[in-house]
Assembly symmetry: C2
Homo-oligomer: 143 residues x 2
Amino acid sequence: MEQRLSIVSLGVEDLAASRRFYEQGLGWKVSSTSNESIVFMDMGGVVLGLYGRDALADDANLAHSKPGGFGGFALAHNARSREDVDKVLAHAAKAGAKILKPAEDVFWGGYSGYFADPDGHPWEVAWNPFFPLSDDGRVELPA
Amino acid sequence: MEQRLSIVSLGVEDLAASRRFYEQGLGWKVSSTSNESIVFMDMGGVVLGLYGRDALADDANLAHSKPGGFGGFALAHNARSREDVDKVLAHAAKAGAKILKPAEDVFWGGYSGYFADPDGHPWEVAWNPFFPLSDDGRVELPA
């Protein structure tokens, strides 16, 4: 089995509102393969998808669950500097995100905060001096 | 804000068991940056992390929640062919994964099934003729 993560799909309650947050709010490009029931964004080789929450559960043959709580996962956007963490969190807040945790120095030696998207899905924004970013923004994880 | 997803962190109840599933079961390489409280795997520019479920909630300033149910998200591993979908699902099942949905032809024109990792996190395994893969396995999403 090849070591590959192709798509991260987020279950959302209001696809139009969620698309607006990511596209107009955060300013991310949406793929032309999107339609009225699904949205795809190219995150650099991995795809971020937005899809109806109940429809996503149905697709995976799982029982529906209430939105809002901790879903057992978090996404992270690694920034290029400490200053960029503050800028990105301010940008997300302006786009309507709830700030879950303002940026702070963290025990592992970085600087990090969290915002929630319109469905409460948590995004960490972090500066991690141990995970350098390539020019195109990918994490260059030590083997 | 750059369009970037750096890390997907999965909250897990038994880190050693979860690491065993991904490393020995699925056969994926674990980064040397991992330690007894966190595991990182390079998925091709995006990192998959395993971290204690409650610790992850704490990190995001969210209330703990019970594991097992649908967490509002799904991951996908896109395979290179229909046949590979069946092979990957069989490989995951042999590694101890629960098959949530056997592979089937799906309405959008692909072929897909789902397995769950030891914490119930859903992985879709899909062949999607509309999302070609590059040689190194990244999705080449149409702009």
